[in-house]
């Protein structure tokens, strides 16, 4: 076991799969000599060579199209989109091409592809870099969308994503990259996609969250415990497909729930979780299911983001409304 940050755990997972499968290719803007702008691919080109880990010209759509072609040649591409705010440049390759590759060829081709990308806010990037666009991806049939909340999960989920036969969007919250360390086994292990993780058990209220909002939810749960409330925190880990069984089991136990996302309120993942709960467990509910989200504005400039982003206080406040309903 070693103490690792999330970025180290991600590099470790990439190294593990580059070693395990010669069809794994890692590429993107500045991922080679530079090791990526966040250093997620640090040292990998040196270790595995320029044939396996390589820089691309600066064009996101090009990276996406290259990925489609390599997948059709039997490779297992792991491209990096430097910031997920740039995803609009590569939307056709992701939603128009990769997500449809199996469907469009009646299963003749498929896309064992993992697109990695930093996302989320709170680290004072220039505009258009930070945003929570997982909802866009989750709405596209054919994709899986995975979001780790810390180092241990990051490694196990990334290994599973790379081994998956279908396209996975693997989103790495920028604020989590170096904010804390966890014990991470040096050997390989997997965490299955589509399975949520119960990060804290409780009996009075369920909080469903993912990404950076898991830590905020855990902080809120601790504060609420001091006030006598037993709160369960469930990390969705995969936002498409959702782990319906774990979500419903938790609601049936606690009878009260809130859903937390860093993304804006409109449409989105939290709304889907609420819909699933009301369709499947309405008779277990003692109170409406409320959401904690960012407001429906464009993601703000750096100095404004911390007043805009949801945090533990917002979560505790909404939790109390549901607990006291």
């Amino acid at each position: 076991m070693a103490q690792m940050t999330m970025i180290q755990a991600i590099t470790d997972a990439l190294r593990t799969e580059l070693k395990n499968d010669e069809n794994v290719l890692v590429f993107g803007e500045d991922v080679g000599v530079n090791g990526g702008v966040f250093r997620a691919t640090e040292g990998l080109q040196k270790e595995f060579g320029e044939d396996r880990v390589f820089d691309t010209p600066l064009a996101e759509s090009g990276i996406g199209g290259l990925t489609v072609g390599l997948a059709m040649q039997g490779f297992r591409p792991v491209p990096e989109i430097q910031f997920f705010g740039f995803v609009y440049e590569v939307m056709d390759s992701i939603s128009g091409q990769l997500a449809r590759l199996s469907f469009r060829t009646a299963g003749h081709f498929h896309a064992p592809v993992t697109i990695r990308s930093p996302f989320g806010g709170g680290v004072a990037t220039p505009e258009m870099h930070a945003d929570s666009l997982e909802g866009l991806m989750a709405q596209q049939p054919g994709l899986k969308v995975v979001i780790p909340s810390g180092p241990y999960d990051a490694k196990g989920l990334l290994i599973s994503a790379i081994r998956d036969e279908d396209p996975v969007i693997y989103l790495e919250h920028m604020k989590l990259y170096r904010s804390f360390r966890e014990e991470v086994p040096e050997e390989e292990y997997t965490i299955p996609l589509g399975k949520a993780g119960v990060k804290r058990e409780g009996t009075d209220l369920s909080i469903f969250a993912y990404g950076a909002m898991v830590r905020e939810s855990l902080k809120a749960a601790e504060a609420l415990e001091k006030e006598g409330h037993s709160v369960e925190v469930v990390d969705l880990r995969t936002v498409q497909p959702l782990d319906i069984d774990t979500i419903i089991a938790s609601v049936e136990k606690t009878n009260r729930a809130i859903v937390v996302q860093e993304a804006q309120r409109q449409a989105g993942v939290a709304a889907t979780v609420v819909a699933e709960i009301t369709e499947r467990a309405i008779l277990s509910l003692e109170a409406p299911v409320l959401r904690v989200t960012a407001p429906d504005t464009i993601y703000p400039y750096a100095q404004g983001e911390n007043t805009w982003l949801p945090d533990a206080n917002d979560i505790a406040e909404t939790a109390k409304q549901v607990l006291e309903f």
Binding site: P57, L66, M72, Q97
Partner: protein, 371 residues
């Protein structure tokens, strides 16, 4: 102080010099005469006959497809007549291991590369089994998003390079496609990685109704390769020998590590953009049509082959009858395809483990559709 004129950089001159270098290569003129003996690819009599056979067969396929579409027996169809030299003579220079990424008008090339005709018809009708590419047929289905196939071709070619394969990736777009971002990204990445790829621009003069002149101020489309640092060539796209010769050369260069080539073929589509209501009389004159029809690839190739004693009316009729029979049989086969079910669609969404939402819906639809 006035600038010294002779020392001034003249970017207009640079542009003119580059553009003037792109002369259209022709080997067989409109009269079916060899005008460029040095470039004659030297196809054998058998090969010449085979290429003519394919062009005639495909012209019949086009005529029958248009009529089947009008009868409601085919779906989406983009006519191909006029482009036979660009499509089939380029394909004639390829090998089975080469991988083709077509645009939606490039169905003839993938048929001649091995896609069974009944599948092509099912694809046209919008039946999912039409794109169930048989193993060993190295094609992707026709791309709908203009230009996307260009950058994907670079990915396929990069894969071939990494595997050390003795094959090339080949893709086709039209004059309109050269305005897309993916066109530039495709040829630029291909140059940067020096991959074995051949990029065709079938310049058929119109992107639906928009004339070639409105797409760009570039004098030729071939010259766009210069900016990407890749060799490019402008060729008479109605001349089968010229198209074959440049393709063959591009393929050889790619296999020898020489990297990608961009080829612009000057051609024309006689028919509408697609059979879905396009009316070319709104944007083209019949004068223009007949001017291009004089350059027809079948007419000049027929003259050339007849002069060599390789072709006659009887041979042509044989090919026409065979094409009609094969088309009839393929339509019959396509008619026998099973009715499509939602459960079929759910099953081809993911290759790996079936996600929870898909499994749940699959159970519902399987039950519903078993009744």
């Amino acid at each position: 102080m006035a600038a010294n004129k002779s020392n001034r950089f003249d970017p207009e001159q640079t542009l003119r010099e580059i553009e003037d270098k792109f002369e259209m290569l022709q080997i067989l003129n409109e009269e079916g005469e060899i005008v460029n003996k040095e470039m004659d690819p030297g196809l054998s009599d058998e090969e010449l006959t085979e290429l003519m056979t394919r062009m005639v067969w495909t012209r019949i396929l086009d005529q029958r497809s248009i009529s089947l579409n009008r009868q409601g027996r085919l779906g989406f169809y983009a006519p191909t007549a006029g482009q036979e030299a660009s499509q089939l003579a380029s394909h004639f220079a390829l090998e089975k291991d080469d991988f083709i990424l077509p645009g939606y008008r490039d169905v003839p090339q993938i048929i001649w590369h091995g896609l069974p005709l009944d599948l092509a018809f099912l694809w046209s009708r919008g039946h999912f089994q039409g794109s169930d590419i048989p193993d060993g047929v190295n094609i992707f289905m026709p791309q709908i998003i203009i230009g996307a196939q260009y950058i994907q071709a670079t990915g396929v070619a990069l894969g071939m390079q990494k595997r050390g394969a003795k094959s090339v990736a080949v893709t086709y777009t039209g004059d309109g496609g050269t305005s897309q971002g993916d066109f530039y990204e495709g040829i630029n990445f291909a140059g940067a990685y020096n991959v074995p790829a051949i990029f065709f621009i079938q310049n058929n003069q119109y992107a639906i109704s928009t004339p070639r002149e409105l797409q760009t101020s570039a004098k030729t489309l071939a010259q766009k390769g210069v900016a990407a640092g890749i060799p490019s060539v402008l060729v008479d796209g109605m001349d089968p020998l010229a198209v074959y010769a440049v393709t063959k050369q591009a393929r050889e260069r790619a296999l020898n590590g020489g990297g990608p080539t961009l080829i612009e073929t000057m051609t024309y589509r006689y028919g509408p953009h697609t059979m879905a209501g396009d009316d070319p009389t709104r944007y083209r004159t019949s004068d223009t049509d007949s001017e291009w029809e004089k350059r027809d690839p079948l007419i000049r190739f027929r003259k050339y082959l007849e002069a060599k004693g390789l072709w006659n009316e009887e041979k042509e009729n044989e090919v026409i009858e065979r094409a009609k029979e094969e088309i009839k049989a393929a339509i019959k086969k396509a008619d026998a395809a099973p009715k499509q079910k939602v459960s079929d669609f759910l099953k081809i969404m993911y290759k790996g483990e079936t996600p929870q939402n898909i499994q749940e819906q699959l159970d519902i639809y399987t039950e519903k559709e078993s009744k």
